[in-house]
Symmetry: C2
Subunit: 366 residues, 2 copies
Amino acid sequence: MKKGLQVTLSDIAGKLGVSKVTVSKALRGHPDISRETAKRVKKVAKDLGYFPNYMARNLSSKHSNTIGVVVPKIAHFFFSTMIETIYDVAFENNYEIILTVSQEDAKRELYHIKSLLSMRVDALIVSVTQQTTDLSIFTKVREMGVPLTFVDRVVDDPSFNTVANDDRGGTFKAVEHAINVGYTKLALLGGFEHVNIGRQRTLGFTDACERYNIPIRPEWMIYSGFGEEDGYNDFLKLCESEEMPEFVFCATFPMALGVYRAAEELGIKIPADIDIMCFGSGIANRFLSTRISCVEQPVAELGRTAMEVTLASIQATDESKPRHVVLGTTLKLADTCIRKIAVPRKINYKPAALLEAASTGIDTLE
Amino acid sequence: MKKGLQVTLSDIAGKLGVSKVTVSKALRGHPDISRETAKRVKKVAKDLGYFPNYMARNLSSKHSNTIGVVVPKIAHFFFSTMIETIYDVAFENNYEIILTVSQEDAKRELYHIKSLLSMRVDALIVSVTQQTTDLSIFTKVREMGVPLTFVDRVVDDPSFNTVANDDRGGTFKAVEHAINVGYTKLALLGGFEHVNIGRQRTLGFTDACERYNIPIRPEWMIYSGFGEEDGYNDFLKLCESEEMPEFVFCATFPMALGVYRAAEELGIKIPADIDIMCFGSGIANRFLSTRISCVEQPVAELGRTAMEVTLASIQATDESKPRHVVLGTTLKLADTCIRKIAVPRKINYKPAALLEAASTGIDTLE
DNA sequence: GTGAAAGCGCTAACAA
DNA sequence: TTGTTAGCGCTTTCAC
């Protein structure tokens, strides 16, 4: 298809016999212009079907009214909810969002950030991938003077804004609850230790154990990823250990879902044989016959706060200090870990057969 | 924060003692430039940390390598999956996506389209809201020569590309299946009739009824929306009718979920008391004790096709004909509508009590 | 192979 | 209140 002709400021100016500067000002509601001409200009603009060219506008005005967002996933309860909030706040403030998705791929993340910088976004909000290790692009971002806010998946660099859950405290509360309920044999499926949220949630777990003198058993601390399949496999691995724990804390809800499924297939009852809790929740929880008690994250608030912090950074003309916001979590009890009932039993577990069953491709929207 | 200095083509040119044109060409791999200078230019560009300014580039080159996308929702299995595919294809083709979310609000949709037009996106992909009636902006889009592809939520205008499910045929297949199974008392929860998908799915339903001489009972055709709450309420309404149907077809999966929940609360068994099917599925289906048989939509393919059609439209320099793609669906049988077992029974239904219970706020990610 | 000139559509600073 | 002059950083055309 062919690009139609563009209506420009000059076109309007020509039609009215004024200069294009007058038109430009009138259209932007600049106080210089008289009510009278402003009205005339706007009318002609409308008649001609004028659309401002942001490329040109931004080139001369040096800002784009646009915020670049980089997230690892989108078809995922947590991220899609957070993003929706980000959009809402952006809309309220007349900003446009350019959302990019890294698909948990560091290369792609880098590509997108470069691209966003080239688009001259006014600021960036990013939630890094699980494999992001090269941080040089972020120092580049700093050098270019583009405000950057990390959200949820933050990077340990105090020179950028961060907005995150209280991962450590939230996990502590959950594990403490399990201990108060009476459990002493505690396992952790921690996701990845090299990822911030994995590390923080692990700390919350060990904090609680130390606080209450619960021994930490290395064979009950398993790390392989944050997805449903990981939880599934981790649980099978757990079943291979000498003794079963009474309670398992999962670093994410999808992992808990994997555990749930594995247990179901093995004929292990939750919470009668083993009790569980997790960090975060998802849509599926409502439909489980045993809904999993969890640490509830303020998902929407995370998005809203990230945007607010970012907008503030844009406004701040000086090199103001970066802000580090930690949002509190709440314990949300459902059908697990209500009271001590789990009595671990010996499992007749055949790894080979089950691992095969585990290979069913599963999407993790949760 | 303050914007840092920008490294420009001239900076690089100055450093090398060449003109900025040479630099521009070298950086873009233009064949004019010798291997030698190209190499030197690239090195200096890297050393200086040069980032091309797309605003400037696009202003002179007249295209932005950017595609604007407008969807009604994002925290929704269907849309988030489709969007993810759109991103994938865009990435493969070196396009950047500017995603906007209308939140089912026609005003917002209009705002975003205008904004995208002003950003001079190379093309648009849009899935309209349930309340979009004013189509004038789309003729404006056509006048501006910007290729536009409607996806899923299409608008009846043959002058634009459309990519959609075979809503009518898919529904026909499902209802036909229900009839083959032996049901003759069929109800439809159709969402909204003024929305294309609602209309098409209704047609599929009536097609099947007519084909098999099944009488259509107006009191069993209910329209109130596509959400879970709508399905819930529709089912309650259905329960008020003189006689209960044997089978209910829901226009969307969230609606079926609402029916499921309402039935559960009323003590009505699915599929023993009433059998159901729906168009589309969602994550939750895996976790229902009675998984709902459905018409499976090719969600990812919808996104991929929409992008491909759009890219083709961009490439086509002439006013090529718009394309209209209809993607086939497949019947996916789970635990409902397997064989005729539903025998509707008289329900002891108390509207007031239940309608109160219905007011629980529920998110529909499905 | 390289570069000078012109201009994309707009806004900012200043002058009138 | 309005207009003039200069760019923003880049690409395109065309001459060298």
